[in-house]
C-alpha cells in the first residue's frame, strides 16, 4: 500500500471512486430522468444556463441529467469487459506459459492473431446486426468486447509465467510434491497479480473507449442512455459543426476522466512491478544531479550530507 502515498496514485484512486459512485447514484440524483424533455416544440439545443446546467439537446433532453445517467452502463460494461478479458488472458497466458511446447505455440499464435486484428472494426461487423434487446445486455456486450481485448494481457502474462515457471521456488514446490494446479494457483498466480492489475486497467480503458465508440457510431443502440448514445445524437445532428459544444463535450470529458483516473492508478502498480523506473526521483529533489559515469561529490563536514549540488571545480593542471 506504499503506492498510495504517491499523490498521483491517490488522486487517481479518489477520482476513480468518485466516478464509480456517480455511476451508481447518478441516475438517482439527476434533476430529471434521462428521457425527460423540456419543450417539445423548440428544435434548437439550448446552451447551458441556470436551469439546464449543461444545456439541452435538439430534443430538449436535459444534458446534465443524461450525463449523470449515462455513466452507469458505460462503466459497468467497461469493467465487465476488463474482468472477462483478464480472466481469458490469465487462462490463456498462464496455460501457454506453464504448459509450454505445442500448446504454447498454438495459444501464442492465437494471441498474436487477435493482436493484429482491429478489434473495433470486428466488433462493428459483429454488433451492427444485433437487435437493441441484446445490445443493452451488459454481460453480453462486456464479454464480446472482452473477446477482442484479452490478447495483450495474455501475451504479457505468458512471458511472465514463462519466467516464473523456471523460478527456483516453483521447482522447490515440485520437490516437496505439490500438485501442478496448486503450484499454478498458489506459487505462480500470486506473483502475477501486479501485472494482472495493470492489464486489467488497460483493458478497462480499452473497454470504455470501445463501448463508447460503438454507441457513438450507432453500431449498438442500448435501451438506456449512455455517454456514447449522447455522442451519437450529437454526431448525427452535426453538433460539432454547429457549435453545440455542451452537447458532446461533457460526455467526452467524462470518458477522458475515467481514462485518466485509471492511468493515474496504474502509476502505483507500475511502481510495484518495476521500482527502478520511478525510484530515482529521490535524489533530484535534494538538488543532487545523478549522471551516468559522473558520481556526484558532496563534500560536507556534517555526518549527514546536506543538500548542495556538486560544483565541478575546473581542473588545476597538475604540477609535476
Amino acid at each position: 500500500m506504499r503506492a498510495l502515498r504517491s499523490p498521483k496514485v491517490l488522486a487517481g484512486s479518489v477520482l476513480l471512486l468518485l466516478l464509480l459512485l456517480l455511476a451508481v447514484v447518478g441516475p438517482l440524483i439527476a434533476p430529471h430522468s434521462a428521457d425527460w424533455q423540456a419543450d417539445r416544440t423548440s428544435g434548437l439545443p439550448l446552451a447551458p444556463s441556470g436551469r439546464f446546467w449543461l444545456g439541452t439537446d435538439q430534443q430538449q433532453h436535459d444534458l446534465f441529467s443524461r450525463l449523470l445517467s449515462g455513466g452507469r452502463d458505460t462503466l459497468l460494461i467497461s469493467f465487465l469487459a476488463g474482468m472477462f478479458a483478464c480472466l481469458l488472458s490469465v487462462v490463456v497466458g498462464v496455460t501457454a506459459g506453464f504448459v509450454g511446447g505445442l500448446v504454447d505455440d498454438l495459444l501464442s499464435a492465437l494471441a498474436n492473431i487477435f493482436l493484429a486484428l482491429p478489434g473495433l472494426l470486428i466488433l462493428m461487423v459483429i454488433m451492427k446486426p444485433l437487435p437493441p434487446s441484446e445490445t443493452s445486455n451488459p454481460l453480453l456486450i462486456g464479454s464480446v468486447i472482452a473477446l477482442t481485448a484479452w490478447a495483450w494481457g495474455a501475451r504479457v502474462l505468458r512471458a511472465q509465467t514463462l519466467a516464473l515457471r523456471a523460478a527456483d521456488y516453483v521447482e522447490a514446490a515440485r520437490v516437496i510434491g505439490e500438485r501442478t494446479w496448486r503450484i499454478i494457483l498458489f506459487e505462480v498466480v500470486p506473483n502475477l497479480l501486479p501485472i494482472l492489475a495493470s492489464a486489467f486497467i488497460f483493458t478497462v480503458i480499452y473497454g470504455i473507449g470501445t463501448y463508447t465508440a460503438l454507441a457513438w457510431l450507432g453500431v449498438i443502440s442500448p435501451a438506456s442512455v449512455t455517454w456514447g448514445t449522447v455522442l451519437n445524437e450529437a454526431q448525427s445532428s452535426g453538433a460539432a459543426v454547429n457549435g453545440y459544444w455542451w452537447w458532446y463535450l461533457p460526455p467526452a470529458l467524462a470518458v477522458a476522466l475515467v481514462g485518466i483516473a485509471l492511468a493515474l492508478v496504474n502509476f502505483g502498480i507500475d511502481e510495484v512491478i518495476n521500482p527502478r523506473l520511478t525510484s530515482a526521483r529521490t535524489g533530484r529533489a535534494r538538488g543532487v544531479v545523478f549522471r551516468l559515469g559522473l558520481t556526484p561529490v558532496l563534500k560536507t563536514a556534517a555526518p549527514e550530507p546536506a543538500a548542495a549540488p556538486s560544483n565541478p571545480v575546473p581542473l588545476k593542471e597538475a604540477q609535476p
Binding site: A280, T282, R286, L294, P312, L315, A318, Q319
Partner: protein, 348 residues
C-alpha cells in the same frame, strides 16, 4: 611495496542516497596503489568493496554519492584529484589511464556490437590520430595478447564462450595501456580451470606491461595467491591492510582471522572449522562501535561503542609493523589473543 604510488585514496566516504534516506556504504577508506602492484580488496557482499572501487573512478551509479575524501591519481601529467575533476577531464583519463574489468563479461559487452567495434571505440575516442587500419591492427594485437585469434574480430559477444568473453574484456581494458586496471570479481562467474588460465595470463601481462591492478573479490583464498597487498573490508570500512603473505600467516583483525578460517583447506588434516557466527550486518542497521563486535570472539567492552581507527598494530617482536588494522586489541595495553599475535618469520 616499492613502486611509486599511482592512486592514493584518502578518507573516502560514499553514501547511497542523500539526506534522511541515505546510508553510508564506505567510511574513511584510505589506500595506496603502487605501480605494477596488485592490490586486493576483499570482503563480503555489502562490505563496500565494489562501491569503493566504482566511487574512485566516479562510475558509481545513482543513488551513490561521494561525501568526502580525496582520490589522487598520479598520471603522466602530474597529480590530479579525481573527485575534483570535471566530466571532460574524467573522460580523458578514463580507459587511457584507468580502465575497468567488470564481473560478468556477458553483461559488460554490448550485445549488438561486434568485438572489433568494442575493442576500437576507446581508441577512436582517445587516439584520434589513428586511422581505421591502425585501429584494426591494434584490435588484432589485443586479441592475440589474450590468446584469441583474429577470426573472432567480427564475432558478436553471444558467439563467444564465457571465458573468451572475459578475455575480450581484459583485452579491451588494456587497449590504451592504462596505468591502473580495476577488476571487479573478473573471474567469479567462470569455472576454476578457466579462472586459473585467465589469471595466469593476466599476471604475465601485468609483468610485461607494468600496469597496477585493483582486484576486487570475495574469495580471499584466491586473493592471497594473487595480490601483493590486501585490504579487508567489513561494513564499509577497511579493517585490515597488509602484505598478502603476512595477512595470511599472521592476521591482526579478528574478522580477517574468521574469514581465513572460513575457507576449508585443500591439504592436511580435516578439522572442524566454525567460520564466523552470525551474518554480516545490513548497512541500514550497523551496530554501534566496531561493526564487527557482535560477531567477534575477542570483543572488548569498548568495542560496543568506540569505533576503532585503522592504525599500525604494535608488533609482538617490536619490528616496524608496515601494516594496519582497525581493532582495539592492537592499540596497546591489551593482551592480544594468540591467533592474532603470530609473527611471520621472514620480512617481506
Amino acid at each position: 611495496m616499492t613502486g611509486e604510488p599511482v592512486l592514493e585514496v584518502r578518507d573516502l566516504c560514499v553514501d547511497y542516497g542523500v539526506g534522511k534516506g541515505g546510508v553510508r556504504a564506505v567510511t574513511d577508506a584510505t589506500l595506496t596503489l603502487r605501480r605494477g602492484e596488485v592490490l586486493g580488496l576483499a570482503g563480503e557482499s555489502g562490505s563496500g568493496k565494489s562501491t569503493l572501487a566504482y566511487a574512485v573512478t566516479r562510475l558509481l551509479r545513482a543513488p551513490g554519492v561521494i561525501t568526502g575524501g580525496e582520490v589522487r591519481f598520479h598520471g603522466p601529467d602530474g597529480v590530479l584529484d579525481l573527485l575534483e575533476a570535471d566530466a571532460a577531464t574524467l573522460r580523458r583519463i578514463r580507459w587511457d589511464q584507468i580502465s575497468v574489468v567488470f564481473q560478468s563479461a556477458m553483461h559488460a559487452l554490448n550485445p549488438v556490437a561486434r568485438i572489433d567495434a568494442q575493442l576500437t571505440d576507446a581508441l577512436r575516442a582517445h587516439r584520434a590520430q589513428l586511422g581505421p587500419a591502425e585501429r584494426r591492427e591494434r584490435a588484432v594485437e589485443l586479441l592475440r595478447l589474450v590468446g584469441i585469434g583474429e577470426e573472432r574480430l567480427r564475432s558478436y559477444p553471444h558467439e563467444l564462450s564465457g571465458g573468451m568473453r572475459q578475455r575480450v574484456m581484459i583485452a579491451m581494458a588494456l587497449a590504451l595501456e592504462p596505468r591502473v586496471v580495476i577488476m571487479d570479481e573478473p573471474t567469479t562467474a567462470l569455472d576454476v580451470v578457466t579462472q586459473r588460465e585467465i589469471l595466469d595470463e593476466l599476471m604475465q601481462l601485468k609483468d610485461r606491461l607494468g600496469f597496477a591492478i585493483v582486484f576486487i573479490t570475495h574469495d580471499l583464498s584466491l586473493l592471497i595467491e594473487l595480490a601483493d597487498t590486501i585490504a579487508i573490508m567489513y561494513a564499509g570500512r577497511i579493517v585490515e591492510l597488509a602484505d598478502a603473505q603476512r595477512l595470511f600467516h599472521s592476521p591482526r583483525h579478528p574478522y580477517t582471522l574468521g574469514l581465513l578460517n572460513s575457507f576449508p583447506a585443500l591439504h592436511g588434516e580435516r578439522v572442524r572449522m566454525e567460520g564466523i557466527p552470525g551474518a554480516p550486518p545490513a548497512l541500514t542497521a550497523l551496530p554501534a562501535g566496531c561493526a564487527f563486535h557482535p560477531r567477534c570472539p575477542f570483543a572488548l567492552e569498548r568495542c560496543a561503542h568506540d569505533v576503532p581507527r585503522l592504525t599500525e598494530p604494535a608488533e609482538p617482536d617490536g619490528a616496524p609493523a608496515d601494516r594496519s588494522a582497525a581493532c582495539w586489541l592492537h592499540t596497546g595495553g591489551e593482551q592480544v589473543p594468540e591467533p592474532l599475535a603470530r609473527v611471520l618469520g621472514s620480512t617481506l
